[in-house]
């Protein structure tokens, strides 16, 4: 199975950490009528340099090429590349709060165990689960969790890195 679904593309962008950088990039993608699935921004080991990881629906390679060409022109952008779906490692973090009473708890914990998810908060009627993994794994877990009464769900969006040097 692919690390990331083939209907998505991951664009990795190194930018100067300046005001409005995220807005500049998201507005640019929006202008091309392209939908952003997830966007993450984080500090890197280089001071003043931020990494933005953008996941977009991969509909038309020409539009993707346009987006990259436009992002590359932005003054704040140092480097852009479209990551290879198979040659990269992708991770996402999920936090999920679910209503669960004593009776249903053990079956839920069983499922969590299979996915190597962690329980990070527990109360009489609810618990919070933390899961890290490839986006497809998170999707699979979410699918099973839909049997339960979910209270809150947050996913961080995808971050990724190419293998090797």
């Amino acid at each position: 199975m692919d690390m990331i679904q083939n209907t998505r593309k991951v664009i990795s962008i190194l930018v100067d950490n300046k005001p409005n950088t995220l807005a500049r990039i998201s507005s640019l993608v929006g202008r091309r009528n392209y939908n952003i699935e997830t966007i993450t921004a984080s500090e890197t080991h280089m001071p003043g340099v931020t990494l933005i990881t953008l996941v977009v629906t991969d509909s038309d390679p020409d539009i993707l090429e346009q987006i990259v060409a436009h992002i590359e022109k932005l003054e704040v952008v140092r480097e852009v590349h479209v990551m290879d779906n198979n040659g990269g490692l992708y991770r996402e973090l999920l936090l999920l709060k679910v209503m669960v009473d004593k009776k249903a708890r053990s079956s839920l914990l069983e499922t969590a165990e299979v996915f190597r998810a962690r329980i990070i908060d527990l109360s009489r009627s609810s618990l919070i689960i933390e899961l890290t993994g490839e986006p497809a794994k998170i999707d699979g877990f979410m699918d099973l969790m839909s049997d339960y009464e979910l209270v809150e769900v947050c996913r961080t969006g995808v971050t990724g890195m190419s293998r090797g040097l």
């Binding site: 005001p19 409005n20 807005a23 500049r24 507005s27 640019l28 202008r31 020409d62 090429e65 346009q66 060409a69 436009h70 590359e72 022109k73 932005l74 003054e75 704040v76």
Partner: protein
């Protein structure tokens, strides 16, 4: 030395060779304007009637003179009034630095009086923008702003400075402007490949646009065209790339282009597309544009390559350098059969004039071309008159036809004409407009009067919004929705009320008389010309069509 933020702005303008700025003052801009007063012997400030006019003036100044235009505005409405002007410059890749004042930094984000988030508003219509709230950053930011505006594919940059930063003192040291990045050179192998394609072609055509004008590459297009016997057509932004009387000139291509240009592009086997965007007004049907040709596209901007039309050879590089390298390697050729075809199309489709004295658009423009002299710079608004001007003016040199191409901004003309006149005090500036466009920003008449600018405005007055009216005639069953405004404006009286001269003409003979008089005036002149409302812009290829769908009568 210790200077205020505003004084640092002035020093940076001077360091970048700026001696003329356009603008309009206001509360947040008081410190900047106080510095402009102090530097008035070195920086001339042109105050317009409206910030939009100031922005178009800075744009016209840049387009006709080649220097980056600079416009000042205050916060809030001052800044938002620049938006259409900035977008106009953005779409046509005009180097512009807009400096806006904002409220003091302790008021930012509090919805203070005349506060607006102008960096957010202008994000999609600038190459880059900055918000500065520390006087220590002003020098660096302005140096970046001028570098960005004038490098690669040129365009507008906005610098928003808070009022406290314009007032505070800060240490300033003169530095020479940042060096522009080296032009991106064409790979010699690519230059050889293009030259070989030119030499091998049987039916080559140049399609040149604003990029050729902006990069000062006209001379190299002309040389390659002459050497390789290549007919040249141009987009509206490329007018002047080749002289109107050059036998290789095909005229404008696209929706309202000449029959010869559109046929030549359709039938050619090699299309040399230089500094162009293949927009929907040229490649009306992108899938069938130049469908028999190999297309070579050379542009400074990678994002233009393969954007609208797929091409065989896509080269991102500096146009001037690339064309020089290609010219060196072209052996030279002649294509008598192809040139014969083209001459036949040109002869066949030369529009005929009725020959009487009526004010037909073509005869009117012919008369203007004839009387204005070879050095004249023509500035237009947007609509039918603009297309007639693009089609019929005798274009000879680049930077002499100033028009809003990409955005199509009605109301662009008068401001731009003011800027063009200030950049070129020795040239005759002729502003061609329609009654619709002129009504939008004719307030700048007061500016032309204040500064004694001898701009001649020719109003193509047909009493309707001609271009939309023409579409309604042709495609909307003559349902003239909101295009027949029944205005009662007396342009002659209005000109006089502003302190300008006003004339009106109903026949070509009357026009000639007024125009000759206008040429002797020291200040602005408006000439109201009565045009038939049913005069159409032809030929025309409807949106999405090809040369087969061309309407010629």
């Amino acid at each position: 030395m210790l200077l205020t933020g505003s004084q640092i702005v002035m020093e940076e303008l001077l360091a970048h060779g700026v001696n003329t700025v356009f603008g309009y003052p206001g509360g947040a801009a008081l410190n900047l304007y106080d510095a402009l007063y102090e530097y008035r012997d070195r920086i001339r400030h042109i105050m317009t009637a409206h910030e939009q006019g100031a922005c178009h003036a800075a744009d016209g100044y840049a387009r006709s003179g080649g220097h980056t235009g600079v416009v000042f505005a205050t916060s809030g409405p001052g800044a938002t009034n620049l938006v259409t002007g900035i977008a106009t410059a953005w779409m046509d890749s005009v180097p512009l630095v807009a400096i806006t004042a904002n409220v003091a930094s302790n008021l930012i984000g509090r919805d203070a009086f005349q506060e607006i988030y102008i960096t957010g508003i202008t994000m999609p219509i600038t190459k880059h923008n900055f918000m500065v709230n520390d006087p220590a950053d002003i020098s660096d930011v302005l140096r970046d702003a001028f570098r960005i505006a004038h490098s690669g594919r040129k365009g507008p940059v906005l610098v928003d400075i808070t009022k406290d930063a314009t007032m505070a003192l800060c240490e300033y040291q003169y530095r020479s402007p940042e060096t522009l990045p080296e032009p991106l050179c064409i790979n010699p192998a690519d230059a050889g490949r293009v030259a070989a394609l030119i030499d091998a072609a049987q039916r080559p055509v140049f399609y040149c646009g604003g990029g050729v004008i902006a990069s000062d590459s006209t001379e190299w297009v002309r040389r390659i065209a002459a050497k390789g016997d290549i007919p040249v057509c141009h987009s509206m932004m490329g007018a002047g790339v080749i002289s109107h009387d050059d036998p290789l000139n095909l005229g404008m291509v696209g929706m309202h282009g000449t029959v010869a240009a559109n046929l030549a592009v359709d039938r050619c086997d090699l299309l040399l597309a230089v500094g162009v965007r293949f927009p929907d007004r040229v490649a009306l049907n992108p899938g069938r544009f130049a469908s028999s040709a190999k297309i070579v596209h050379i542009d400074a901007d990678r994002s233009e390559l393969n954007k609208n039309v797929k091409v065989e050879v896509a080269l991102r590089c500096d146009l001037r350098q690339a064309l020089t390298a290609i010219e060196n390697q072209v052996q030279g050729a002649s294509h008598p059969a192809w040139i014969k075809d083209i001459q036949a199309w040109k002869a066949e489709c030369a529009p005929t004039l009725s020959g009487d004295d009526a004010l037909e658009p073509r005869s009117l423009i012919g008369k203007i071309s004839e009387l204005s002299g070879p050095e004249a710079i023509y500035v237009t608004d947007v609509g039918q008159h603009q297309m007639w001007a693009a089609q019929y003016l005798h274009h000879t040199e680049p930077k002499r036809f100033i028009t809003s191409g990409g955005l199509g901004t009605m109301g662009f003309g008068y401001g731009a004409a003011i800027g063009a006149q200030l950049a070129n005090p020795g040239n005759r500036i002729v502003h061609l407009t329609g009654d619709g466009s002129f009504h939008m920003n004719l307030n700048e008449g007061c500016t032309a009067v204040s500064y004694g600018l001898p701009i001649i405005t020719v109003i193509f007055n047909n009493g309707v919004l001609g271009m939309v009216y023409q579409w309604q005639s042709q495609f909307y069953g003559q349902r003239y929705s909101a295009t027949v405004p029944d205005r009662k404006t007396d342009f002659v009286c209005m000109a006089e009320a502003f302190g300008a001269k006003g004339f009106s003409a109903r026949t070509l003979e009357e026009f000639e008389e007024c125009y000759k008089q206008a040429l002797t005036e020291k200040g602005p002149v408006w000439i109201d010309c009565a045009i038939d409302k049913d005069a159409r812009v032809l030929p025309m290829i409807p949106g999405g069509g090809t040369v087969e769908d061309m309407i010629t009568e």
